[in-house]
């Protein structure tokens, strides 16, 4: 009797897991299938996400009839610039917070900790006016500054915490040998903390890709549109005309993302868990 129950339990667990897997996979498969299905609209897609005669037409349309490549390039530019700014400013600030003593250190660190909770989006109206005032509206520079500034408080804390674990005795030894502040920073601290720097780089690179509100407020001209805004406008209200083309576009964003996620996964979980349990 007990054995029967145990087998039943087993079968039930597997059934639930399989059903849930189908529910998780179906939307993804439906989008992938849509990207290769003939026809433009949602209406003539099959329920089963496997097209009978797959086609690459939608990728062709995407490149030739829409500004997709332009959006992709715009977003890529913003992401790269954001990464450069965030990584360089964060590293130098974290190094200083980790290794120097000065009067305003404590209040500054405390205010960063509180500020990182407020998403920049809440101040979006103010940001919009400020960028207008600085003649930075409708410019990448404005958007990049807003992104990177918003990311700094959290990242400085993260990297400072990591630098703190790197033994101070090593850089003191270098100082005895005559190394200056910058030499210690570039030759000793950075080479020894590369994994977390790579993590910082990848997350900063990923952050702007699917953001919507800020680029929509700040970048008003058509030629500066980013991917999220472009895809949203392609699909909203007219999904029946454009779904397959949208799916093709979505696929081209999602694939690199999944790859970056897989590369980053171990670290991501570790950092998230550390943030949750220890700190």
């Amino acid at each position: 009797m007990r054995k029967v129950l145990s087998i039943l339990n087993h079968v039930l667990t597997y059934t639930i897991l399989v059903v849930l897997s189908v529910m998780v996979l179906y939307p993804i498969a439906f989008a992938i299938g849509g990207a290769f299905s003939p026809g433009k609209s949602l209406a003539n897609l099959n329920i089963l996400p496997f097209p009978a005669n797959p086609t690459l037409d939608h990728f062709d349309d995407l490149f030739n009839r829409t500004n997709y490549i332009l959006w992709y390039r715009n977003t890529f530019t913003i992401a790269v610039a954001n990464t450069l700014v965030v990584v360089s400013v964060t590293l130098i600030s974290a190094y200083i917070f980790s290794r120097f003593r000065f009067k305003l250190k404590k209040p500054m660190l405390m205010s960063f900790l509180i500020l990182q909770m407020f998403p920049s989006v809440v101040g979006v109206i103010a940001i919009y006016v400020i960028l207008n005032r600085l003649a930075l509206s409708d410019s990448y520079l404005g958007l990049i500054l807003v992104y990177s500034a918003g990311a700094l408080p959290y990242n400085i804390w993260l990297i400072k915490g990591y630098f703190d674990t790197f033994p101070r005795s090593v850089d003191e030894a270098a100082r005895v040998d005559g190394a200056g502040n910058l030499t210690v920073f570039f030759r000793i601290v950075i080479p020894n903390t590369l994994p977390i720097i790579a993590f910082l780089g990848i997350t900063s690179f990923m952050a702007p890709w699917m953001d919507f509100i800020l680029p929509r407020f700040i970048l008003r001209s058509d030629s500066k549109k980013t991917l999220a805004v472009g895809l949203f406008e392609m699909i909203t209200g007219r999904s029946n005309d454009n779904f397959t083309m949208f799916a093709a576009g979505a696929l081209l964003v999602a694939v690199p993302f999944v790859i970056l996620f897989v590369i980053n996964q171990k670290y991501l979980v570790k950092v998230m868990a550390a943030g949750a349990v220890k700190e």
Binding site: P27, F30, A43, F102, V129, I156, A254
Partner: protein
């Protein structure tokens, strides 16, 4: 001059920056630098004063002038704010100058010595590296994080809104608590919309957190069973919604839930369920109102959010469970505890204790979640409250604020909502702050 240097130096420095350092202590370089600072400030005092006055008056309406010559109230507000920041910084420097004069004066009175120029430069050089290195971060955070927060608060006390108070054509005026009153007065259109949206936002954040948490917990537990052979495969599948960019999947979901042509409707049609529902009188047409019926739309929003959000908790909970100490479980087994008891009295309490911060963060994250609502419904379906207030029946505070600001440019009301969101986020920020290791151990 040695006698009473501790009194004269700060007194002179309070009169004019650097005076005490130069006259009493003969610290010419330091004193000169401080004096130059005050001179620069005094030379610009007129501009600063004008900017601060502009913050108070917000300019005069001058319809007779061409648009580009009219007063731009929002810019004047910003300039005034910046001027205030400059004044505050100057006051801080002034205070530092007096404190330094007092310290150095005391030292001089006691020992007759003064800090030499070389010592001063060396000291400055050490500190300068820290301050120069931090200046990009400080400038960026002040301009694009702190000032926007303050500015957003100020905007809520103005009438900055379409159609008749939009610079550069028109000026904006301070209206005090007028906008707040309109949002809070019972019975008004905006207050009803505000109340409804706040309640739904709260429900949304709470239910999102609970569903994703327990969804993740359920799967983590199921996969943690030793008998499940291919747990790794399942785990990889279940992590996918987290790996794919959320916005992309929300766009896809919006199409899957298309009432007329979406695959879900088609599946139900194939099963003749649509026909049956129609005969039952539940449906009026061939389309299923996944996202166009208020209640149905809310349920769908929560389910899609569950789809997107459970992998996060699954990952976290799996991680915590693998790091749980084995010996407690062994001890419990020896004491005769069964599987359920072990879960109920050991695993669950430990998990809840460790994941409570995550749940709280998730709640505040969902309060501000924009895409999870906007990309699926844009806040629709609309109803009689939507006309005039623009708040649809699935709008949260976040999406409503966005719509008021971007679509209709009623910036003052959008700012009132932003303030409400600050107020809601603040306790979480403080909680987050209070539980950090560095805060608890009293060192940073």
């Amino acid at each position: 001059m040695r006698k009473k240097a501790a009194v004269y130096t700060p007194a002179a420095s309070a009169f004019f920056m650097g005076l005490g350092q130069i006259v009493v202590l003969k610290q010419y370089l330091k004193g000169a630098l401080l004096a130059v600072l005050e001179i620069v400030f005094l030379l610009n005092a007129g501009t600063l004063f004008k900017a601060v006055r502009g913050l108070i008056t917000l300019g005069d309406p001058r319809p007779d002038l061409p648009v580009r010559l009219r007063d731009n109230s929002t810019f004047m507000m910003l300039d005034g704010l910046m001027a205030l920041v400059v004044v505050i910084f100057f006051i801080i420097f002034y205070a530092i100058n007096i404190v330094d004069a007092r310290k150095q004066g005391k030292l001089h009175e006691k020992t007759g010595e003064v800090q030499t120029t070389r010592q001063f430069l060396k000291n400055l050089g050490e500190k300068a590296f820290a301050y120069i290195g931090l200046s990009p971060a400080i400038a960026m955070i002040s301009f694009f994080v702190i000032i926007p927060l303050v500015y957003a608060v100020l905007l809520a006390f103005t009438n900055f809104s379409a159609p008749s108070h939009l610079p550069p054509n028109n000026t904006v005026d301070w209206v005090g608590l007028e906008t707040f009153r309109e949002m809070a007065s019972l019975g008004g259109q905006f207050s009803s919309a505000f109340l409804r949206t706040s309640i739904w936002t709260f429900q949304w954040a709470l239910l999102c957190t609970l569903t994703t948490y327990f969804g993740g917990l359920f799967i983590a537990l199921a996969l943690n069973e030793k008998k499940i052979r291919i747990a790794r495969v399942f785990r990889t599948i279940f992590i996918l919604p987290y790996a794919v960019p959320g916005a992309v999947m929300l766009f896809v979901w919006a199409n899957i839930l298309n009432g007329q042509f979406g695959p879900l409707t088609k599946i139900l049609r194939e099963l003749d369920a649509v026909e049956w529902l129609k005969n039952m009188g539940v449906l009026q047409s061939d389309a299923i109102p996944w996202l166009s019926d208020p209640t149905m739309a809310k349920i769908m929003l929560l389910l899609v959010n569950l789809w997107l959000g459970f992998p996060y908790f699954m990952m976290m909970i799996t991680g915590i469970m693998t790091s749980m100490p084995e010996d407690i479980f062994e001890a419990a087994t020896i004491d005769g505890a069964d599987k359920f008891q072990k879960f109920r009295y050991i695993t669950l309490p430990l998990l809840l204790y460790q994941t409570l911060p995550l749940m709280i963060l998730s709640f505040s994250y969902n309060m501000n979640n924009f895409g999870g609502v906007y990309f699926l419904t844009q806040g629709n379906p609309s109803d009689n409250l939507t006309t005039g207030t623009f708040a649809g029946s699935t709008d949260t505070l976040m999406t409503w604020m966005y719509k008021l600001a971007y679509d209709t440019r009623i910036y003052n009301k959008a700012s009132v909502i932003a303030i409400c969101m600050f107020v809601v986020i603040a306790p979480f920020a403080i909680y987050n702050f209070a539980r950090t290791k560095s805060f608890r151990e009293g060192e940073l």
